[in-house]
Amino acid sequence: MVVFFVKRLLTSLLVVLVSTLIMYVLVDLSIDPLLDLRTSTAPNKAQQIANRTAELRLDDPVISRYLSWLKGASGCVYGNCDLGENWLTHQQVTSLLGGAVLTTIQLVGAATFLAILLGVMVGVVSALRQYTGFDYSITFLSFLLYSLPVFWVAVLAKVFLAIRFNDFLADPHISVGAMALISGVVGLIVSAALAGTAVKRLRNFAVAAVVVALLLIYAEVTQWFADPSIGIALIALTSVGWAFVVTILSTGLRNRRALYSALSVAALGIALWLPLLYFWIYAEDAGILGWPLVIALFVIALAVSAGIGFAWGGPDRTRSARTAALTAIPVSATLFVDRLMQSWGSYNSNIAIKDRPIATLGSSTPNLEGDFWIQTIDTFAHLALPTATLILISFASYTRYSRASMLEVMNQDYIRTARSKGLTERTVVMRHAFRNALLPLASIVPIDIITLLGGAVLTETVFGWFGMGRLFVVSLGNNQQDPVMAYIVIVGILAVAANFVADLIYAVLDPRIRVAA
């Protein structure tokens, strides 16, 4: 197995090496650094052309330029990076890259995560409701999403999601018609997704529509959108709700120990709400507030919850532990979002924001003064639109793939065996089918990440993010070889790494691969 991976890694590296050579030649053919000088009317035009030719070594054969570029680039392995410079501004490419790589990874990472989550969920439900109205609607939707030009949607999103939504936030009034429409649509989706007899559908529709309508009325009466917050009451409600949802999905409510461990995690979260608020203040004073601390706390929360589940004991304590740990994810997320929302008011009225929270340009507000929370809200507000448009691309493919793979698994003999030995539908779907259906997705993710990197080229351009995609587009437009090559190398390495990780995951998940390797 180790041999297999080493071989795989070496061939991948060779592919990257050869592809950089090909791309170097292609980019060299494609750009013309002397373009502006050719049409110039300056008296010393010939001299300028000669100068630039000498500076960029345009008279040397392309291979020798590639070799010297490769020599500089290979320095990156031992920390002596030289990826050339931007000849217009004489900035080192390495200094340009730092922020850009981080920006793009942030964007693509968020989009991948959300697209997998939503796409798999919708795809699986669609497969379980094969040939129903819901299934057909989702199929149509995914075709529509496949056919959408990202750059066009992005401009529309800017106008309708950002500008109109900001207008709405400035004066948050929901009309009765809008309320009826929203609750009706949500009711329809819920009843279609849950399916069942006509009576059941009607009941589901009514329940979902009424709940949404009540929530909207509550928001309207309390002007929730003007100053959104969660508060301890809502945290308590959602945490307990999550405990039930997670238990239903993971072990079923009949496993009392699992339910109690999930509920204890929810209770712990509720109990920790107030102490945590003080802890954040303390952390800020101590200067340790930041993403590392948040992530560390999250990991601790997972571990503690797993411990709680384990402590409930019983014959299958690992299942309780898993349920508890899974419950900890939404509960801690709720606590985190609650703390963020407490800063919403001060973010919104910040001098740099001026009550227009959803941003349409850039990856952060310039000159924004504020603590960790303000900065985090700012990042999220900027991520919202580009991520939403990026998700559209890969949501469709994840839905299609997970639907197809779920359908295939549901027709397998072992599913029939599971059903015939009297297991509940939940166990059959979640344990026997869903886990196996996820397997083929591991090979889709790296391809999708490459697609998303391509999509990021477009979204970064529309939304004015200074990420790698934008760097690529601008440098190619300005006829600059070195920054373009830097982009190509990094994307190539990212793609190879994604593929490699997928292989690794696949081998871990599927024992058949290990035998074959």
Partner: protein, 356 residues
């Protein structure tokens, strides 16, 4: 297609009986055509695509033949009424009476007719789409067929060669090549893009060939003394045609989006040529004042891509015998009478499968 499903009795047998009754005595081509035309989405997609193409090519003319539309896509004119569209819906749809008027899609800031421009852009997109798919289908088929047929080091070399293209997002290689070929016109842009989009097809055709070459009819052809080229051309490619056609269609939809995206970024079609992508890029800043400049090109991109995608879906269903339609309840009841004969049908169906 290579794994025959075991008849499992009960419902399956019933369904098989229905399906067999449908296809009895028909050739493979007739079955595929029938299945395709029964796919409602595919049919609507096909009609839409034909309608859009007829509109685009006949209205402003193409290939030197003048069209029936009165405005040229390049000539500026007086801006009437701020360039607002003159087309309006019938009154019962909330418009001010059905009318087309002089400029149904409006005018841009120097008075060029947006309908003519959109039609020109649509023509460009369809032309580019056709060239890309034909070229990519040809290259992909050739590479995949050779790799799958000869296997061994030829296969290894060709597949590593394919990997080179898959390492980067298509749009990145497309931008580099488009920057090179875009200024030479839409044709060369399409050729350049066709040269990089064949990879998926090559992999699929290779996979198909790897299974096909183990089949008896290939052995039979070999024993009869057919050359490798003849076996590939006469015996294997016709059998892989389903995969090729379906994926070429799906590729065509991707090609439309790729061309428009590159043109939007400025690395595709260059002015004075018109593409739906360049129109969006040109007019996006005018969205607040002249939204119609922006709506139409986007809508036509979606129309083309969506209808091509639906056609591809219909073709996939038509070519893939595993994807059966579920018969309606009434059909099932009618077929219940045939249930006894079901086993025979299933057996003969499996034989049919092997012959294909």
């Amino acid at each position: 297609m290579s794994t025959p499903l075991e008849p499992t009795g009960g419902i399956d047998t019933l369904e098989n009986a229905i399906e067999l009754k449908d296809v009895e005595g028909l050739s493979q081509g007739q079955i595929v055509r029938r299945r395709f035309f029964r796919h409602r989405g595919a049919l609507v997609g096909l009609l839409t695509l034909v309608a859009v193409s007829v509109l685009a090519y006949s209205s402003i003319g193409a290939f030197g033949i003048p069209g029936w539309w009165k405005f040229d896509y390049r000539t500026p004119a007086d801006v009437v009424n701020g360039g607002a569209p003159t087309m309006s819906l019938p009154t019962w749809l909330g418009g001010s009476g059905l009318a087309i008027g002089d400029h149904p899609f409006g005018q841009d800031e120097i008075g060029r007719d947006i309908f003519a421009r959109t039609m020109k852009g649509t023509q460009t997109s369809i032309n580019v789409m056709v060239i890309i798919s034909v070229l990519a289908a040809f290259i992909g088929m050739t590479v995949g067929a050779i790799a799958g047929f000869y296997r061994g080091w030829v296969d290894q070399a060709l597949m590593r060669f394919t990997d080179l293209f898959i390492t980067f997002p298509v749009i990145v290689i497309g931008a580099v090549l488009g920057n090179l070929a875009g200024s030479a016109g839409a044709f060369w842009l399409a050729v350049a893009l066709g040269c990089i989009t064949w990879t998926t097809l090559a992999r699929l055709v290779r996979g198909e060939f790897l299974t096909l070459r183990e089949r008896e009819f290939v052995d039979a052809a070999k024993v009869a003394g057919a050359s490798s080229f003849r076996i590939i051309r006469k015996h294997m490619i016709p059998n892989a045609m389903g995969v090729i056609i379906v994926n070429t269609t799906l590729l065509a939809a991707v090609a439309v989006l790729l061309e428009t995206a590159l043109s939007y970024l400025g690395f595709g079609i260059q002015t004075p040529d018109v593409s739906l992508g360049t129109m969006i890029s040109e007019y996006q800043s005018a969205f607040a004042t002249r939204p119609w400049l922006f709506w139409w090109p986007g809508l036509f991109i979606i129309l083309i891509a969506l209808s091509v995608n639906f056609i591809g879906d219909g073709l996939r269903d038509a070519f893939d015998p595993r994807q059966k339609r579920i018969p309606s309840g009434r059909k099932m009841a009618r077929a219940a009478a045939l249930a006894d004969a079901g086993a025979d049908y299933a057996a003969s169906r499996d034989e049919n499968r092997d012959e294909r």
